[in-house]
C-alpha cells in the first residue's frame, strides 16, 4: 500500500529526515517510536503534505501513485488520513458543515454520490458511537473550546467519517487520560479492516497496549534505526531509548 524509499526532508534548510525506508501493507499496523526530535512528526507531516517541509530526496508510492506530487487535499481524497497531534481550533466553522464538505469532496473524488443531509446525519450518528463523542460537541465550531481528549476523539471521529485507506495517528495518545485512551483505541481498532492500514506515531509504549502493532520501528536522527515486533516496544519501555542512541552514535563515529 505504502512504500517509502530513501526519503529525505528538511525544513528551512535543516535536514530532518535522512533516508527513511518503510513498507506498509494493507491490514497492517505499524508503530513508529523514537525519542523527541527524531523526526516522527515530520514523517507524518510529510506524508500528509504539509508545505513547510521540503522533500529533498527519495520517493513515496501510495497504491501505485507518486504521493509527493499531490496536494494535501488530493492525498486525503486518495485515502491518507492524518490525525493531528494538535488539532486546530477553527472558530466560526461549524463541525458539521466542515465534515459534510469534507466527506462529499472525498466521495466526489472517489466517484461516489454526494450524501444528502439525511444520509449524512445517519452516517454521523453511526460513527459518533464509535468514539462516544457527544453530539453537542459537533454543534459547536470546529474544535473550539474542546478539551484535549475531546479534540483527539474528534480526530478519530473524522477518520471514521472519511474512511481512509492509510491512517497516520500523530501522537494521538499524548495528553489523554486512561479512559480517553481506551475510547480512542477502541475506535481505531473497530475501524481496522484487512484493506486499510495504520501508522501509529508515538513516544510511549502505553498506546500499544490497546492497539497492537504488527511492527515497531524506532526512528532516530531521521532514520529508522531498528525494526521489530511488538516486543521491541516493551523493551523500549523497560530500557528507554539510550541504548539505541548509543548504538547508533557509536556506529557513526567508527
Amino acid at each position: 500500500m505504502l512504500s517509502i524509499k530513501n526519503l529525505h526532508a528538511s525544513i528551512e534548510g535543516t535536514p530532518i529526515l535522512r533516508g527513511i525506508n518503510l513498507e506498509v501493507k494493507a491490514g497492517e499496523v505499524h508503530a513508529i517510536m523514537g525519542p523527541n526530535g527524531s523526526g516522527k512528526s515530520t514523517l507524518a507531516s510529510v506524508l500528509a503534505g504539509r508545505e513547510e517541509y521540503e522533500v529533498t530526496e527519495g520517493e513515496v508510492i501510495f497504491n501505485g501513485k507518486n504521493l509527493l506530487e499531490y496536494s494535501p487535499e488530493v492525498r486525503a481524497r486518495e485515502g491518507i488520513f492524518l490525525a493531528f497531534q494538535y488539532p486546530v481550533e477553527i472558530p466560526g466553522v461549524s463541525s458539521t458543515n466542515f465534515l459534510r464538505t469534507a466527506v462529499n469532496q472525498v466521495r466526489e473524488y472517489r466517484g461516489l454520490e454526494a450524501l444528502d443531509a439525511v444520509k449524512f446525519l445517519t452516517l454521523m450518528k453511526e460513527k459518533m458511537k464509535l468514539v462516544e463523542i457527544d453530539k453537542k460537541l459537533l454543534s459547536r465550531s470546529l474544535n473550539e473550546g474542546f478539551s484535549g481528549g475531546e479534540k483527539k476523539r474528534n480526530e478519530i471521529f473524522q477518520m471514521a467519517m472519511l474512511d481512509p485507506k492509510l491512517s497516520i495517528l500523530d501522537e494521538t495518545d499524548s495528553g489523554l487520560d486512561i479512559d480517553a485512551l481506551k475510547i480512542v483505541s477502541n475506535g481505531v481498532n473497530q475501524l481496522k479492516t484487512k484493506d486499510n492500514a495504520t501508522i501509529l506515531v508515538t513516544h510511549y509504549q502505553r498506546l500499544l497496549d490497546y492497539i497492537i502493532p504488527d511492527y515497531v520501528h524506532v526512528l532516530y536522527k531521521g532514520r529508522i534505526v531498528k525494526s521489530g515486533s511488538k516486543e521491541l516496544a516493551l523493551e523500549l519501555e523497560d530500557r528507554g531509548y539510550d541504548w539505541i542512541k548509543e548504538a547508533v552514535d557509536s556506529e557513526a563515529t567508527v
Binding site: G49, S71, E73, R75, A76, N97, T101, A102, V106
Partner: protein
C-alpha cells in the same frame, strides 16, 4: 485657504443649491468657504485622499438631475427576498410617486417641511461633506415615526443612480422617531451605468425616548463609484441604535457614523464588514459619544483585503465626565490576503469618567495557514478551504443584520466572493 479651495472642482457645487432652507444653506456655505475641502494631510482624511481623488475623478461639479424611473425598474432593482416598503431615490432625489405609502409613518419630500432642522444633528462644521451637502443638496426625504409605532416591515432606501455629464448625487435624509417606536431602515444602491459617480449622502436621525432603530447599509457598487456618507444620530434614554455596514465594492468609500448618547440606559451598536479587492479603498470612521451615565456601546469592524486594496478604520469613543458606568467595547480585525493590500487602523478613546469599562483591540494578520492545512488534510480543496475560513471570519458581522431576507442576501454575496478567487 479660500483661493486654494476654489481650485477644487467640487467647490463650485455650493453655488448650485436646491430650494428652501436658505439660512441653513447659507451658514453651510460660509463654513465650506472657510474650511474648504480636506487638505492632503488633514487629520480626519489622512489615509483617504478624497480631495485629490475627486479632482481627478470628476469632470465637472454639476449635480445629476432625477431621471425617469419605471415601476418595473424599481421592482427589478430591489434585492431578492425583500419584504417591506420601498422609498425610491432617483440620482439621490426622493421620488414620492414611485415610493410605497407607509400608513404608520409621515413621509414627505424634505423641501415640504420648512421647519425641519437640517444640520442640527449632522452639523456642517463637523465634517466638510456635511457642509457641502447642506449647502447644495437638491431634495431629500423627511420621515417621522409617531409615538408608539413599531414598524413590522423594514423600509428600504433604494438609491437608483444613472448619471451622465453631471456626476454628483447628494441624498439627504431626516428621520425622527417618537417615543416607544421601532423601525428598520435598509440602504441599497443600484448603479444603472458605469459612469463615474460621486455620492455625498447625509442622514440625520433624531431619536425619541425608548426608540429602537436599526440601520443596514450595503455598498456593492462598480469601480467607478465614490461615496462619502455621514450618518449621525442623537439617542435619548432607553434607546438603541444598531448599524451594520457591508462594503463589498467601489472605488473610494468613506463612511462617517456618529452616535450621540444623550440619555441613560441607551446603547449604540456599530458593525462593519469590508471585503476589498482591486484598488478599492474603504474608510470607516465611527464616533460614539457617551455623555450621560449608564450607557453602552459595542463595536466590531472586520476587513479582508486583497490585491492593492486599502481599508481604513478609525473608532472614536468619548466618555464624558458625567458618563459614569459606561460600557464601551471596540474591536477591529483585519486579514490581508496580499502583500500589496494595506490597512490603517486607529482606535481613539477619550475617557473622562473614572467608573467605566472600556476595551478596544485591533488585529491585522494573514489567513491562518495551520487551519488551512487542517481543512485540506481532510480533503477540502484549497480554494474552498480558504472560503470557509474567510467566511468564518466575516460571518460574525453578518450575524448582526436583524432583517432575515437582507441578511440572506448579504450572506450570499459574501459567500460568492469568498468562495471564488476573491
Amino acid at each position: 485657504m479660500s483661493t486654494l479651495t476654489q481650485q477644487n472642482k467640487i467647490s463650485d457645487l455650493i453655488n448650485h443649491s436646491g430650494t428652501g432652507f436658505e439660512s441653513a444653506r447659507n451658514s453651510a456655505k460660509e463654513i465650506f468657504k472657510q474650511q474648504g475641502m480636506p487638505a492632503l494631510k488633514a487629520e480626519e482624511y489622512k489615509f483617504t485622499s478624497i480631495t485629490k481623488k475627486l479632482d481627478s475623478f470628476l469632470t465637472n461639479s454639476l449635480q445629476a438631475k432625477a431621471f425617469e424611473v419605471s415601476v418595473d425598474r424599481v421592482k427589478s432593482s430591489v434585492f431578492e427576498g425583500f419584504e417591506g416598503d420601498v422609498l425610491v431615490f432617483s440620482n439621490g432625489i426622493y421620488q414620492p410617486s414611485l415610493s410605497d405609502k407607509i400608513e404608520e409613518l409621515s413621509i414627505s419630500s424634505i423641501s415640504a417641511v420648512a421647519d425641519c432642522p437640517i444640520g442640527s444633528i449632522a452639523k456642517p462644521e463637523k465634517d466638510i461633506f456635511c457642509a457641502l451637502n447642506q449647502a447644495s443638496f437638491q431634495d431629500g426625504v423627511f420621515i417621522s415615526i409617531p409615538n408608539k409605532v413599531k414598524l413590522e416591515r423594514p423600509v428600504l432606501f433604494l438609491f437608483l443612480n444613472e448619471v451622465s455629464d453631471a456626476q454628483v448625487i447628494q441624498p439627504r435624509i431626516w428621520i425622527e422617531s417618537g417615543d416607544f417606536s421601532e423601525a428598520t431602515f435598509i440602504e441599497q444602491t443600484v448603479q444603472l451605468n458605469e459612469s463615474p459617480t460621486f455620492v455625498n449622502k447625509v442622514i440625520e436621525v433624531k431619536g425619541g425616548m425608548n426608540t429602537h432603530l436599526h440601520h443596514y447599509r450595503l455598498q456593492n457598487e462598480g469601480k467607478n463609484y465614490i461615496e462619502v456618507s455621514n450618518i449621525e444620530t442623537d439617542l435619548l434614554k432607553d434607546s438603541t441604535f444598531n448599524s451594520v455596514v457591508i462594503s463589498l465594492s467601489g472605488d473610494m468609500i468613506r463612511n462617517n457614523l456618529t452616535i450621540n448618547i444623550l440619555g441613560s440606559n441607551s446603547e449604540g451598536n456599530m458593525y462593519g464588514l469590508y471585503l476589498l479587492n482591486g484598488k478599492s479603498h474603504v474608510d470607516n470612521h465611527t464616533n460614539v459619544d457617551h455623555t450621560v451615565p449608564h450607557s453602552e456601546s459595542n463595536e466590531l469592524y472586520k476587513g479582508i483585503m486583497a490585491d492593492y486594496s486599502r481599508g481604513v478604520f478609525n473608532g472614536k469613543i468619548f466618555v464624558r465626565q458625567d458618563a459614569q458606568k459606561t460600557n464601551a467595547f471596540q474591536q477591529n480585525n483585519n486579514i490581508l490576503l496580499s502583500e500589496n493590500a494595506v490597512v490603517n487602523t486607529k482606535p481613539q478613546l477619550e475617557i473622562w469618567a473614572d467608573d467605566v469599562k472600556c476595551s478596544h483591540g485591533c488585529t491585522t494578520g494573514q489567513l491562518d495557514e495551520e487551519a488551512l492545512f487542517y481543512l485540506q488534510a481532510r480533503g477540502i480543496g484549497k480554494l474552498q478551504a480558504k472560503g470557509l475560513l474567510l467566511y468564518a471570519f466575516a460571518g460574525e458581522v453578518l450575524e448582526h443584520i436583524g432583517d432575515d431576507p437582507f441578511k440572506k442576501y448579504c450572506t450570499q454575496l459574501v459567500e460568492n466572493r469568498l468562495g471564488s478567487k476573491f
